[in-house]
């Protein structure tokens, strides 16, 4: 679509996405949250690696662990959705493909978040 406005006029103010700095801010918020959560998560992986079923279940049945894991999943899926959105916008120039890829990106993030949350809560309350 050819608009009569100059490119500068179009990017002024809120920008073409009409959301201002929301993307940047959410990306940095989740990045900050991800620092302690990632250290907790990687520590958990390293500690649980090779552990048997009962050990893993007893670890994930602790409410503190479940809550920290849920926070990790929440922060990580928001962060990764924002990051992949940038990658898609950088490399996919066909408008239709780009819109579909952006939708698939959201679906993927929601699926990962929901699947992890369900598994964690199921283990946590069992």
């Amino acid at each position: 679509m050819k608009a009569m406005k100059t490119p500068l006029k179009r990017v002024r103010g809120l920008g073409s996405a009409n959301e201002g700095t929301e993307h940047f801010w959410q990306q940095r918020m989740t990045a900050l949250a991800n620092i302690p959560l990632t250290l907790f998560f990687v520590g958990s992986i390293a500690a649980l690696h090779g552990a048997d079923y009962n050990t893993v279940m007893s670890y994930f049945s602790s409410p503190i662990v479940t809550i920290l894991m849920l926070l990790t999943v929440l922060s990580a899926v928001i962060h990764m959705r924002l990051g992949m959105q940038i990658i898609i916008e950088d490399y996919i120039h066909n408008e239709g493909t780009k819109v579909l890829a952006l939708m698939a990106n959201t679906f993927f993030a929601v699926f990962v978040g929901l699947a992890c949350a369900y598994a964690l809560i199921k283990i946590g309350v069992s």
Binding site: V11, S16, N34, V42, G43, A47, L48, D52, F60, M84
Partner: protein, 131 residues
């Protein structure tokens, strides 16, 4: 979206023109690790759902993760996480306007790589020995 090159004017050269610089390679690596972590979340989903499904399926999944290739993937996944995390810390430093000059940007890039390797090895050694 605005037309990137409305007047058909010459564009600035892209990646393949430049000699790879360390800061540039680390920037690309930040994006690559981010993309890899995105796909890697499927492993986390699989492992957590396996644990939630019961002992039989969990033992099957754990057997695969405990194999040599599984361990290698897991080690790489944790390194990618920690490397991307330290890359993010580097961006936080730059967000304040600090350390943007070439010598210190290069030093930060080197520290990021050295830090991610050291941190990953340390966590795995502690995780294996203590637990």
């Amino acid at each position: 979206m605005a037309d990137a090159n409305p007047g058909g004017r010459p564009l600035s050269p892209h990646l393949q023109i430049y000699k790879p610089l360390f800061t540039m390679v680390m920037s690309i690596l930040h994006r690559i690790t981010g993309g890899a972590l995105y796909v890697g979340t499927l492993l986390v989903v699989w492992w957590l759902v396996a644990a939630a499904s019961g002992p039989e399926y969990f033992d099957f999944a754990n057997g695969i993760m405990g194999s040599f290739v599984g361990r290698l993937v897991l080690f790489g996944y944790t390194w990618a996480l920690l490397h991307h995390m330290l890359g993010g810390v580097r961006h936080f430093i730059w967000d304040t306007g600090a350390m943007l000059d070439v010598p210190r940007a290069q030093m930060l890039a080197k520290l990021t790589l050295a830090g991610s390797l050291t941190l990953t090895l340390t966590i795995w050694i502690v995780g294996t020995l203590v637990f």
